[in-house]
């Protein structure tokens, strides 16, 4: 058998003293052959990015490889000096990062950034370089390459920026492409296109791909082989088909079982139940500009209509910029609508002001997306939970007692109340946020992408917790998500939004099985790993 493009043998990388473990990765071995896509799968903190950085010679200065070897087409990389690595990077191996906006230089035109690579590694004339860049832009299917060549990164969409990154990575036809979560920051429909593009280009050129991801859907979509990483150790690797169908290691099985199924689970709620919350003609126009700048208006929500019944879970799904978070904030009166009406228990609440508006806070509560930033780092968990009730005159003793009960409900120990948010993991923090919302004894709970920032195994726990709490407290739940799998698991009904408008709504079973609107169909088609049945438990 010929030499693989990338061969890693017994790689061990030490973390600086005082970290949560001694080695970022320990004794990891893997190979990627030409034209093959290897998916390196792991949850956050598994060390998957460290492997990529070690191969590229981009490890942070305080993180050192202590054992093992990395070969690129037979050449040892860990021993190579900085100059040799620089010559290899871009030409023989290249990388695509997660966030295309920060990976591109904002003050250089896209064409110039790709051109820079050619100038550094080839002896082509400016005209030849330009021709080649334009041809590459065509290959990554950027519309109007001439215009994009002179455009700056901020003038492009996220998907277009990622295409520029891919053009940059592949223009010198490297033997190895390392893609570090390249589609995580993108919408599902864009993600599907980018995945297809990477697969096609690499098959054509025979490029070896090390694809780092946390998403089983993506793995099912593109991987030839899979390596599963857990806390720096390789637990299992093998052909994608066999590994997904019959995982041998317990950890892989747990991870696979945690991937939510795309098949809806819950029936629609009884039509006879009272409508608790109704939005009609809800519109929000954001205006920017001022005295010297031309005014610019964005219709973030445009005539949104729906109703939620008592005890029901309504999903609002859509891609970024669809206005789903705006609708959440409108419902919770965090921002004022430009037009339209919200009714709570049949009573219009948009006209409420002053103390009446403040009283609404007790009835509608939030769980936010980012558990790392939605808790004040300088206040204890207990202080965060009792704050709401005490704002409304509940005595401290009583609020404390309630907080202790809530800790039990969200399955944290009461001792957690005295600790600060940084002492908790993401999942634990999200439990704290749920407890904070529940401390207000709300009727409606709005969860805005509440599980999006969490690892898939933690995601399942939080989803089942929310479900359990909803049943116990008879809460009405509005669940905002971009992830159709999550929506399928928890919602009775869904509202699909696109560019501020509701394009389709109905029971989740009907919408997912027989989408009527073309956008819903596109969303469902784009869901990664659609052909693969996950979560057979």
């Amino acid at each position: 058998m010929s030499e693989p493009v990338l061969r890693i043998e017994g790689l061990t990388v030490a973390l600086p003293a005082g970290g949560d473990r001694r080695y970022a990765v320990e004794n990891v071995g893997l190979e990627v052959a030409a034209g093959e896509i290897l998916c390196l799968l792991g949850e956050s903190g598994s060390g998957k990015s460290i492997i990529a950085q070690a191969a590229m010679g981009l490890l942070p200065p305080n993180v050192k490889p202590v054992a093992g070897r990395v070969f690129l087409s037979g050449e040892e990389l860990l021993a190579a000096d900085a100059r040799r690595l620089r010559a290899l990077r871009g030409a023989r191996m290249s990388m695509v990062f997660q966030e295309p906006m920060t990976a591109l230089n904002p003050v250089m035109s896209c064409g110039a950034q790709v051109d820079e690579l050619l100038r550094a590694h080839t002896g082509l004339t400016p005209l030849e370089r330009r021709q080649r860049v334009l041809r590459m832009f065509e290959q990554v299917r950027l519309p109007d390459p001439e215009r994009i060549h002179s455009a700056y990164p901020h003038q492009l969409s996220g998907g277009q920026r990622q295409r520029i990154m891919i053009a940059m990575a592949l223009i010198l036809k490297p033997a190895l492409l390392i893609a570090d979560e390249p589609t995580t920051a993108l919408d599902v429909t864009t993600q599907a296109e980018i995945l297809r593009l990477i697969t096609e280009l690499c098959r054509e050129n025979g490029t070896a791909v090390l694809f780092i991801t946390h998403d089983f859907g993506v793995v099912a979509e593109i991987a030839d082989r899979v390596a599963v990483l857990r806390l720096g150790e390789l637990v299992e690797s093998g052909a994608a088909k066999t590994l997904l169908a019959a995982p041998r290691h317990e950890y892989t099985r747990v991870l696979l079982a945690a991937v939510p199924k795309l098949a809806p689970r819950k029936p629609p709620i009884d039509e006879g139940r009272v409508v608790q919350l109704r939005a009609s003609g809800l519109t929000k126009i954001f205006e920017s500009g001022g005295w010297f700048v031309r005014r610019h208006a964005v219709r973030a929500a445009d005539g949104v209509e729906f109703e939620v019944r008592l005890g029901e879970t309504l999903g609002i799904v859509g891609e970024s910029g669809s206005g789903k978070s705006t609708v959440a904030r409108l419902l919770g009166r965090l921002i004022e609508p430009s037009a339209g009406e919200i009714e709570l228990d049949g009573e219009p609440i948009t006209g409420y002001a002053g103390d009446r508006a403040r009283q609404l806070r007790r009835r509608i509560q939030f769980v936010f997306q980012d558990p790392y930033r939605s808790l004040n780092p300088r206040r204890t968990v207990g202080a965060a939970i009792v704050e709401g009730p005490m704002n409304f005159g509940v005595p401290r003793q009583e609020a404390r007692a309630r907080a202790v009960e809530l800790m039990d409900l969200v399955r944290l120990s009461p001792g957690a109340l005295e600790r600060y948010p940084h002492e908790f993991s993401g999942g634990q923090r999200q439990r704290v946020c749920i407890a904070r919302a529940l401390a207000m004894r709300p009727e409606v709970l709005i969860a805005d992408e509440a599980v999006s920032a969490l690892d898939v195994s933690v995601q399942t726990q939080i989803l089942s917790l929310l479900e359990d709490i909803q049943q116990r407290l008879r809460l009405t739940l509005i669940f905002i998500t971009h992830d159709l799998r999550v929506a399928a698991q928890i919602c009775n009904r869904v509202v699909v939004m696109q560019r501020g408008r509701v394009v389709e709504q109905g029971p989740v079973r009907e919408v997912f099985a027989h989408p009527r609107h073309e956008y819903t169909r596109a969303l469902l088609d784009a869901a990664p790993g659609r052909s693969f049945a996950f979560g057979k438990s």
Partner: protein, 311 residues
């Protein structure tokens, strides 16, 4: 785990404080700057015990003595004793060592008072400007106007307007410093108000005042404290400038600026008149700035990534 006893709560916040103190103690510029400042403060506070004489005592016989000279001094009480002039005397025969130590009281208290005053007002105004959109434009344009006037010039004008006293000098120096603090506080508020935890606090019905005090201010504290040290250093300097120009405290009050102003006339013949207060001034400003840099490195999460999220 069982519910924690209140005493354990105390332990956990004490532990946080102890960790902070440990971090500060590891920073050489905090330790050095702090030590020099503490020494200067102690020396000027304990000036009467450190072998000084009355700093305003005129003694024509002993004028223009060189550092280290010793001579007989007669106090106002009529008491007569031998005294060593460690830093010499000025052209009125006053002991420079005593004047410098007593002058330190003025410099340090002006620095501290100006820092406290401009922080208190600046942070208050900055919080409001940053949080209440309707007031932002008006307040900030007023601050821009204030900043358009050079600080020292404004201070001179203000002292001239009022009568020179410790209080008016403090006010005159603090007023030009306020807009800088307002700008910083406002920009911090503008960032922090977008944090999800602020939105979360709003969603549980926290009134605006409590929101600013409980959620916004504590998260803005570190850069503001650091700014406070810089204000303090520049206030000490400006006080000396005012005194030196004769626009500060009256000449009968010993301040470093006054001593230097009087010594200036015969600087070529007796440089010690200017040298010693100058060294103390430079040392103080350096120490305050070092302390500020050290605090910034330790407190500001941007300079201290690892302290932000313990592994």
């Amino acid at each position: 785990m069982d519910a924690m006893h209140p005493s354990e709560l105390a332990i956990s916040s004490d532990a946080r404080l102890a960790a902070l103190v440990r971090r500060l103690a590891r920073n050489p510029s905090v330790v050095l700057g702090g030590a020099v400042l503490a020494l200067l403060a102690l020396a000027s506070a304990a000036a009467p015990l450190l072998g000084t004489v009355d700093p305003t005592l005129l003694d024509p016989v002993n004028r223009d003595l060189l550092p280290g000279a010793s001579a007989r001094v007669t106090a106002l009480t009529g008491e007569s004793f031998r005294h060593t002039f460690w830093m010499g005397t000025d052209s009125f025969g006053r002991d420079i060592y005593s004047r410098v130590l007593y002058g330190g009281r003025v410099s340090l208290s002006v620095g501290l008072a100006v820092a406290a005053l401009s922080l208190a007002i600046g942070v208050g105004v900055g919080l409001v400007a940053g949080y209440v959109r309707a007031l932002d434009g008006v307040v900030m344009r007023a601050m821009d106007g204030l900043m358009a006037i050079p600080g020292v010039l404004l201070a001179i004008a203000l002292v001239a307007l009022w009568r020179a006293s410790l209080l008016t000098v403090v006010a005159a120096i603090a007023i030009p410093e306020i807009p800088r603090v307002v700008r910083l506080a406002r920009s911090l508020v503008l960032t922090i108000r977008e944090e999800p935890y602020v939105e979360a606090a709003i969603s549980v019905g926290t009134p605006t005042g409590a929101l600013l005090l409980r959620h916004v201010l504590p998260n803005a504290a570190a850069p503001l404290i650091v700014q406070g040290t810089y204000v303090c250093a520049s206030a000490i300097l400006i006080e000396s400038i005012l005194s030196f120009l004769g626009a500060g405290l009256p000449t009968d009050v010993p301040t470093w600026g006054n001593i230097m102003a009087e010594g200036r006339l015969q600087f070529t013949a007796y440089p010690h008149n200017v040298f010693f207060p100058g060294v103390f001034l430079a040392l103080t400003v350096l120490a305050v700035n070092m302390l500020g840099d050290g605090l910034r490195d330790t407190l500001d999460p941007k300079f201290n990534r690892r302290g932000d999220r313990p592994a």
